[in-house]
């Protein structure tokens, strides 16, 4: 995964590498270190012309034919660009930069390094002085090498609950590229990135259709509308979820019917669903909470018996697998969210609907554009529910690293589980053997939550509660829901759950520090 220490190489360091090998041993070691994943190497776009000019000039000075010289340097440059990542320089900041800098070229490099918004950044230069704008440290290659070998994790440092900055650094060139393409073509609504993302997501999930929409909530709303759910209908779901699950049902005039959860997975208890079905039931909406799919086979079987559609609320589980199939492709409809903190998130709101039913897909596509089947011809009641092109472009960039991130989430989740095995006071989520959990949240249960939260806050470890009050206890839902059977498990779990920091860039030492704090807090 991405390194936490970033080195921005000045032109002088690269020129030494090419032209003064006797002075470049430490720089070679920095490249070796990057190959081992211990650091990320960057160069500023502002440095590249200088590199080329000087290297070509030196080759020619040494009697190498100019054509050969340019060819050699071109190959050196291309080799370099395969080994490092390039930082952009932004036009809007040049005037201010020029005014405040003592060395404009240095300052441009330092300004481009601002894009590295996570981890520690060091500029590496062979020069004795460097105008780093007072924002970055700069080191000679040898010192940079020693800096790399130092332990980086501070025990006092506040950890990130979800480290989007580290992800952004890892994906910076792809994200910049995709956003720039949209700014260039200017098709901000329903641009080519929308179709490209839908095709890629459909292929990833295995579903025949993917329809991107404005948010995860919008995905649920449009899905229910496409199924014709309306006033007087009932939709069976779980009370232990984010409010959007039930909110969209009520918005359509229907009634959420709450069925209790399993205490060990926190997903809806499939064995209790059938008892909740009435003639008014129009759909079943399980939630794949925390990133683990619910018992979809059992739920689908009940739904088939009563000819009901199933909508998987997969806002937290995109990327998870259930019996070899992807979440979002486990029932009539799957809905996910691209809220920034989700396993696959954008930089705003976004979501998607998945289905292999052609008629439902068509209905969803029309409903998301005000119910129109062609321009200004409205055959259904719809909403303004499109996901904008820029957000699709961001998700396309993130998709390039998604498999790697999911793999890392699985590893970190397993490691959390293993580290907690010896802490009986902290019940862990059970992951069924026929599926996995992508850990949108890593959530545990503790008996005295207030004291626990206080202890972790004191240890600079952020926490969150997903979710403190089940929906049947929410004031807005007292009159608008129906409760089927006892909801004791939901009530109990809601009083005990705590989510710990979880993201693909969580370092092992940080994870150990979190567990140490958990152990101390429950001792």
């Amino acid at each position: 995964m991405a390194a936490n220490k970033h080195l921005v190489l000045d032109a002088s360091v690269i020129l030494d590498l090419w032209l003064r090998p006797e002075r470049a041993m430490a720089t070679e070691a920095l490249f070796a270190s990057a190959e081992q994943g211990r650091t990320s190497l960057w160069v500023s776009a502002a440095s590249l012309p200088t590199l080329e000019f000087v290297a070509v000039r030196r080759c020619k000075e040494q009697g190498i034919d100019p054509t050969v010289a340019r060819s050699l340097v071109k190959r050196l440059m291309l080799d370099l660009l395969n080994r490092v990542r390039v930082l952009s320089n932004r036009g809007y900041e040049q005037a201010e930069l020029y005014a405040k800098s003592t060395d404009f070229e240095d300052a441009q490099l330092a300004a481009s390094a601002r894009s590295i918004s996570a981890g520690q950044v060091c500029i590496v230069s062979s020069d004795a002085a460097f105008d780093a704008l007072g924002e970055f440290s700069f080191q000679r290659p040898k010192q940079a090498l020693e800096w790399l070998l130092q332990e980086s994790t501070s025990e006092q440092e506040t950890l990130s609950f979800i480290d989007l900055a580290a992800q952004q650094v890892a994906l910076r060139p792809q994200i910049e590229r995709n956003i720039d393409i949209v700014l260039h073509h200017g098709q901000y609504i329903m641009g080519p990135e929308v179709k490209a993302l839908e095709e890629k997501l459909a292929e990833y999930s295995g579903a025949k259709h993917c329809i991107t929409v404005a948010s995860g909530t919008e995905a649920l709303l449009i899905s229910l509308m496409a199924l014709g759910v309306g006033a007087g209908d009932e939709v069976i779901t779980t009370p232990f979820t984010f409010v959007a699950t039930a909110e969209v049902i009520v918005l359509l005039g229907a009634k959420p019917v709450f069925v209790d959860i399993e205490p060990d997975t926190c997903n809806i208890d499939a064995s209790r669903i059938e008892a909740a079905i009435t003639p008014k039931t129009k759909a079943i909406m399980p939630v794949s909470l925390y990133g683990q799919p619910a018992d979809m086979d059992e739920i689908n079987a009940i739904a088939a018996k009563y000819k009901l559609p199933v909508i998987e609320d997969a806002a937290q589980s995109f990327g998870a697998e259930y019996k070899g199939r992807k979440s979002c492709n486990l029932s009539t409809i799957g809905c996910t969210s691209f809220f920034p903190s989700k396993p696959l998130g954008c930089y705003g709101d976004g979501g998607a609907i998945f289905t292999s039913d052609d008629a439902i897909a068509l209905a969803c596509r029309e409903i998301r554009v005000h119910g129109q089947s062609k321009r200004y011809w409205h055959t259904r009641i719809g909403v303004g529910g499109r996901m904008d092109t820029l957000q699709c472009a961001v998700v396309l960039a993130k998709l390039e690293r998604f498999n790697e991130e999911i793999e890392q989430r699985l590893k970190l989740g397993e490691r959390y589980q293993r580290l907690l095995e010896d802490v009986p006071a902290v019940p862990r989520l059970v992951v069924r053997s026929d599926r996995n959990c992508v850990w949108a949240q890593f959530t545990i249960q503790v008996p005295d939550r207030d004291a626990f939260l206080h202890a972790l806050t004191a240890a600079n470890i952020p926490t969150a509660v997903h979710y403190p009050v089940p929906l049947h206890r929410q004031p807005a839902y007292h009159e608008s829901c129906r409760v089927s059977g006892s909801l004791d498990c939901s009530d109990l779990v809601a009083s005990r759950v705590v989510s710990l920091p979880m993201h693909p860039y969580l370092e092992q030492r940080a994870q150990e520090r979190i567990i140490e704090a958990v152990v101390r807090a429950v001792a």
Partner: protein
């Protein structure tokens, strides 16, 4: 983390029960100054070399650190490597001169 190790005739021995995940791991070795012979490489070289050494490799077995980048550069330069590095080593002031000359050549179009 820090562990004590014993340097024994070119080999670095870590504690017997100390196990590492990977066969090749960067380690930083602190050697008492009074143990270093005068003609030994500098600390700079030692730091760099440590990045490519495994616990059970003697110095002779260690490949050059950053070998991949150096090999790639050498392959690109091919027969022109000798010519490029011939003569007196470049000094810092030579780099400044090269830069000015290169920019002048570029700006004035003197190819």
């Amino acid at each position: 983390m820090q562990v004590e190790a014993i340097y024994d005739h070119g080999r670095l021995e870590l504690p017997a029960n100390f196990r590492l995940k990977h066969a090749v791991v960067n380690v930083l070795v602190i050697v008492p100054d009074d143990e270093v012979l005068a003609d030994s490489p500098s600390g700079h070289d030692q730091t760099a070399a440590s990045l490519a050494r495994t616990p059970d490799q003697s110095p002779r077995e260690v490949s050059a650190p950053g070998g991949a980048i150096r090999t790639a550069i050498d392959e690109i330069l091919g027969p022109w490597k000798q010519q490029l590095h011939a003569g007196a080593a470049l000094r810092d002031e030579d780099f400044d001169r090269l830069r000015y000359q290169a920019l002048e050549e570029k700006s004035l179009g003197r190819q």
